[in-house]
Amino acid sequence: MVRIPAMLALRELRHDWQSAMCFVAALAGVLGPLLIILALKNGIIGTMVGRLIEDPSNREILAIGAEQHDAAFFAALGARQDVGFIVPATRSINTSANAVRHEAQRKLERAVPLIPSAAGDPLIDGEAVAPGRVWVSDKLAQDLSVSAGDTVDMIVGREVDGQRENARRDLQVIGVLPPEIWPRPAIFLSLPDLLAVERFRDDLTSNPANWTDPVAEPETYASFRLYARSLEDIGTLSAHLAEQGLQSRPRAENAALLLSFRRNLNILFTAIAALAMFGFWAAMSANLRGMVERQRIIFSLFSMLTMPDRQRCVIPVVQSLALVLGGVIATLIIILPFLMAINATFETAPGESVARLYAGDVFATLVLGAVTAVTAAIWAVFAVRNVEPQEVLTHA
């Protein structure tokens, strides 16, 4: 039965509200800076560094030079746990269209890079490319004034006996990649479409009339588009490629540095938080113990009035929990405007902020606070258990 002791605990806090407020203020003094640091960590690491880390482009491993990779090579690489995505690619000389035209808008873009894609492409969030169905980058979409559902005309050229010869193909745009994913002009297309471009340029039997007809897959590919499953996998995957005698480099050279920065900042924050929480815990523990001492005669009276030990011990625990709850609420009331001021002061990219506090952080603070409150009350609980009923008889 905790109703009576809980009521007594809260009534005592209300009665001695000035002491309670002092304690809440002291808690806010510890918790406030801690939550501000956490918000800054979230803002800087979680959104800025985090964005760099989470950007799938940074997981790309770029193949250097042209090789001859057969189906077994791709099967073996695709089966690795550290590989997130792989698709064969042609020689880099063939990975561009001479021009792409949007006839309806009378717009044309020259030398547009062609990037092989397939189902599971980490850059594409939507329907996978297929022969004749492509994604375009935001830059190209703007240059050509196209959007999903439009059709563009891809023009691929070659010279035969000094004569210029062009092949054309209609491509339906099924999606536009956001600029943060791919800031330059590009078309993401299926491997058969890319192979058709290569074949038209390299094979004279391919002509503007038949160049897009299905043909047998080549035995080898000159290159590939490869993404590690995570940033942490880049190291092992690069090492594996090097063991195979393949030259490669990660697109994000500083990925390891970012990871290390994030890890170190997390360790630093955890250490600061742990130290602050220990300090708070010690202060809370001493304060609660002091409260028992100030209320010693009343605890003795409760014992005299037959209140069992377990009920008397509820009192400092409830007071501790109430003070921590009050402290967390007071802290939030104080720091939220402060965080808004920080975010208003420092300019960031749209959707990002320098200081950010998540609901999970507040929840975790409450849970951690509750654990701290209960454990900090242990000393006080032992003190209450040692208060004897005789003390109320003998005190002056």
Partner: protein, 248 residues
């Protein structure tokens, strides 16, 4: 205060004590050699200041650590009191009421909440009619919402009496219950205590050094003697062979 009779004749013994003692200070013992009370009986512990009257009440209430004495017996309402007996078994509001000399009230509860506290702690609901009667009788009717800090010492003392009596205890212990009152009010409050204790059917043990006059002037006293033995001092209370007063 009439109807005297020997407590040993009483069929409904409320309190039975034999050889209950404590070493109050090094070499100084307070001992209750024998004390037996039946329902409705009253006995006064009257001795000089420092003789251990309050200590004797603390012993009766089972609130003090005991010195091991031979042939020890401590029964309240038929329950054997030992250091391991949960207080609720022998000191609940219907068994034991204790008016402390210090009149300690919980400072953050109202007077009414203070009066109800022992009953509430026991998980019971106060008898509203009896509670109202007590509060009226003690002249506290207009003060029930006040905190102890807003009351005079005398008002706190009367509130302590009401708190002790609310559960209609079988045994009421009074430690100098009128010491803080104006002399003009002493007789009235003593009369109220006697009257209300009688209504509650409580046996009463009163510790007082100022009961030579007033309502308790004729109430039987427990024997008190001081004994020096082998370098130790003993302050001994006993009712052996004495009659207690039966409250009418």
């Amino acid at each position: 205060m009439g109807g005297l009779r020997l407590s040993s004749d009483a069929p409904d013994t409320v309190l039975s004590i034999r050889n209950l003692g404590i070493e109050r200070a090094p070499g100084f013992f307070v001992v209750i050699e024998e004390l037996e009370l039946s329902a409705g009986e009253t006995i006064v512990l009257d001795a000089v200041s420092g003789a251990g009257k309050s200590t004797a009440l603390g012993l009766i209430a089972g609130a003090l650590p005991l010195t091991d004495l031979p042939d020890m017996l401590h029964l309240i309402g038929g329950v054997t009191v030992t250091p391991d007996t949960p207080r609720a078994e022998f000191a609940g509001p219907d068994k034991l009421g204790f008016v402390l000399q210090t009149n300690t009230l919980v400072p953050y509860l109202s007077l009414q909440e203070n009066i109800e506290l022992p009953v509430r702690v026991a998980g019971q609901v106060p008898d509203a009619e009896w509670q109202d009667h007590l509060i009226r009788a003690m002249g506290l009717r207009d003060l029930t919402a006040r905190k102890p800090g807003q009351l005079s010492v005398g008002q706190r003392q009367r509130a302590s009496v009401a708190r002790a009596l609310l559960g209609q205890p079988a045994l009421l212990l009074l430690d100098e219950p009128v010491s803080a009152l104006d002399p003009a009010n002493v007789a009235e409050v003593e009369g109220l205590i006697v009257h209300l204790a009688a209504e509650a059917g409580s046996a009463v043990v009163l510790a007082s050094h100022q009961a030579q006059t007033g309502e308790f002037a004729d109430t039987p006293r427990a024997d008190h003697r001081l004994l020096d033995h082998q370098g130790q001092s003993y302050s001994i209370f006993s009712t052996a062979g004495r009659a207690a007063a039966r409250v009418a």
